[in-house]
């Protein structure tokens, strides 16, 4: 049942991506509206899929790669919808929709069976740790998209290419503001995600920190964002530098999330997928 909702959600994200891309090309408001609506309805169905899967499995469904990818995509769309409420930047839509789709497609292919939960994962800390970590990641995904747009737009203004791209992209001021907002939301979430992870590790493995690759890489990610936040607040790093940092930071997140599981082995590898 939950996979049905999951599949409809994918279809809607696909439709949203398609409409949003058309919007960027043709600049017809209606297309952006359809894109947004598809994304919104997709998000609602996606949420339903999670609730159903939770009820079926009896635990928070973020324990294998299918579930995590799907949850990551869900969080990214959710964060975008929340941000859209404050910053009505339609051009972010196609980026977010594409990113969600890129995460959803492998999730669709990967095995979706609900397996019994490994004993070590049976804990209240599971949902707390995972939800904070992923929400933080999703906010940084938004910062990543804004960063890319900033770099594109900054190049247009700097090199005086006042053409089609310039007109379609939002102002540098707003993009930089979103970068900062994302940082102020994402950094605390990531920090809490890491701390709750450490506490859970103390219960589960008997040690707060064991330099497992995932722990190491999340620390590296955390340091990157901490550096950006520090520089922003002290010497006023902004604009291009902040955008580049947001892009690098997100690559670190992706590696922590996927690269570690696929390339390295460690305590966080619970299932083959």
């Amino acid at each position: 049942m939950n996979t049905w909702f999951f599949k409809i959600a994918i279809a809607l994200y696909l439709l949203g991506t398609f409409k949003y891309l058309l919007f960027v090309i043709l600049l017809r408001e209606l297309l952006a509206k359809i894109g947004f609506l598809s994304l919104f309805v997709g998000f609602v169905l996606h949420s339903t899929a999670f609730v159903l899967r939770y009820l079926e499995a009896g635990h928070t469904p973020v324990t294998n790669l299918h579930e995590s990818l799907s949850f990551f995509a869900w969080a990214i769309v959710g964060v975008y919808l929340a941000f859209y409420w404050r910053y009505r930047i339609k051009v972010l839509g196609p980026f977010i929709a594409t990113l969600a789709l890129i995460l959803m497609i492998p999730a669709m292919v990967l095995p979706k069976e609900i397996l019994p939960l490994a004993p070590v994962l049976r804990s209240y800390w599971l949902p707390i740790h995972v939800v904070f970590a992923f929400l933080g990641n999703a906010v940084f995904a938004l910062a990543f998209c804004t960063g890319i747009i900033y770099i594109l737009q900054e190049h247009q203004v700097k090199s005086k290419h006042i053409g089609a791209i310039f007109r379609r992209l939002p102002s540098l001021g707003v993009l930089d503001e979103i970068n900062y907002r994302a940082l102020t939301f994402g950094f605390p979430l990531l920090t809490v995600g890491i701390i709750t992870g450490a506490i859970w590790a103390q219960y589960a493995w008997g040690s707060y920190w064991s330099w497992d690759p995932k722990e190491t890489w999340s620390l590296i990610t955390w340091c990157l964002y901490a550096a950006l936040l520090h520089q922003r607040l002290t010497v006023g790093w902004r604009g291009k530098k902040a955008a580049i940092m947001a892009i690098l930071g997100f690559f670190a997140i992706l590696f922590t999330f996927l690269g570690v599981n696929l390339l390295l082995t460690g305590l966080h590898a619970y299932s083959n997928w």
Binding site: K160, I162, P170, S171, L172, G173, G236, R238
Partner: protein, 464 residues
Amino acid sequence: MLIRIGDRPTVFRYELLENDLSSLVCHKMDVLVIGINHRTAPVEIRERVSFSGEELLRSLGRVLEYPEFTEDMIVSTCNRVEIYATTRDPEKGIVALKNFLAEYHGVSLDDFEKSLYVHLGSAAIRHIFRVASSLDSMVVGEPQILGQIKEAHNIAAYHNTSGIILNKLLHKAFHVAKRVRTETKIGNNAVSISYAAVELAKKIFGTLEGKAVMLLGAGEMAELAAKHLVAGGVQRVIVVSRTYQRAADLAMAFNGEAIEFDGFGERLEGVDIVISSTGAPHYILHPENVLGVIKARRNRPMFFIDIAVPRDIDPRVNEIENVYLYDIDDLQEVVDANRDRRAREARRAEEIVEEEALKFYNWYASLDLVPTIVSLKEKFEEIRKRELSKALSSFARITEKERKSLEALTSAIVKKILHDPITLLKSPGLNTDTNEYVDTVRKLFRLDAKGRGQPKRRGGDDGT
């Protein structure tokens, strides 16, 4: 040789039928436009035939004194002088309007006749729609012309010189202008240097609310750009000039602050936008100055607009992070690119105009429907009476009863014959080609050949 009859969609039929039916051109109401604009004549000629406020009223009435015209209005701006009128006799109407212009202004017609353009019927409708939509303007897409036409129409409507046709036509023109504005991006891109500067500033800062601008040098262009920036939300204006008085005057206009030229360096830190237009022979701002300023601003972005020639600001300033420098050529390029875009949007606008002109033309053609039906009936009635009286006179003796039944019989025949064609003409489904049917009916039954109190018009003379 005479009128620009080629503007009429019905010209084909005219030419085809010319030889045998040359006298049968219908007397329908036509919209006539005669005018002169920035493309057809230089200002020296335009100003000689233009109408100013007071005169306009008088001339509106004077045009209607000509028997050819039923309605008129006059648009007179610095770029165009146009008279719109409705007439049943375009050929005479054109001559009358030309003479009116010459006589009224005391100018010889030869001096400006070459510069005049004349549009008739659907071409006139299209022309008025294009003008109102700013497709015929010097700067395509600039919105002022719409206001000017509205004003001109208000005057005509207020003094009742415009009537049902012109009123409906002008309201439609305003509607078309609005459609063009909302459905194309014709007005979206800045096509003047100062607007381009504002557009760029908005893309850099997001909002101009609470931003500060410094005018380095108080030239006219700088003043104009500052005006646009203030309209866009900029709140503080600092004016720097080598002549303090000039700075003070300008600052007053913006409710800003004037400072001495030597002191501007220290104040740079507090401004976001700098418009430089001094007459200095060399750079007055170097990368090292700006680097220090930007550091003190903790990297808050700055936008430098250098409209001075020779330039005031070292172009290397643009290489500093979070600093954007545009000189006059850069801005000109933005403006040129926007002009090209406007031209592309204008093509879409032309389609809208075409579509609306066609719709309007059909409405306006249908105005001739009722008179056509009336004359058709009249003609048949006339024939019936004539033939009946001929027949009656050949009878030696006829009773009143017989006469009455003959009367009824012939009336019934005429009525039955006319029933179907009239039903067809009146049917709403005919909309798109009412005009053609009306035209055909008028020709088939020679409705225009009969002198029905209207002046007989000689259609296309030999070899039109």
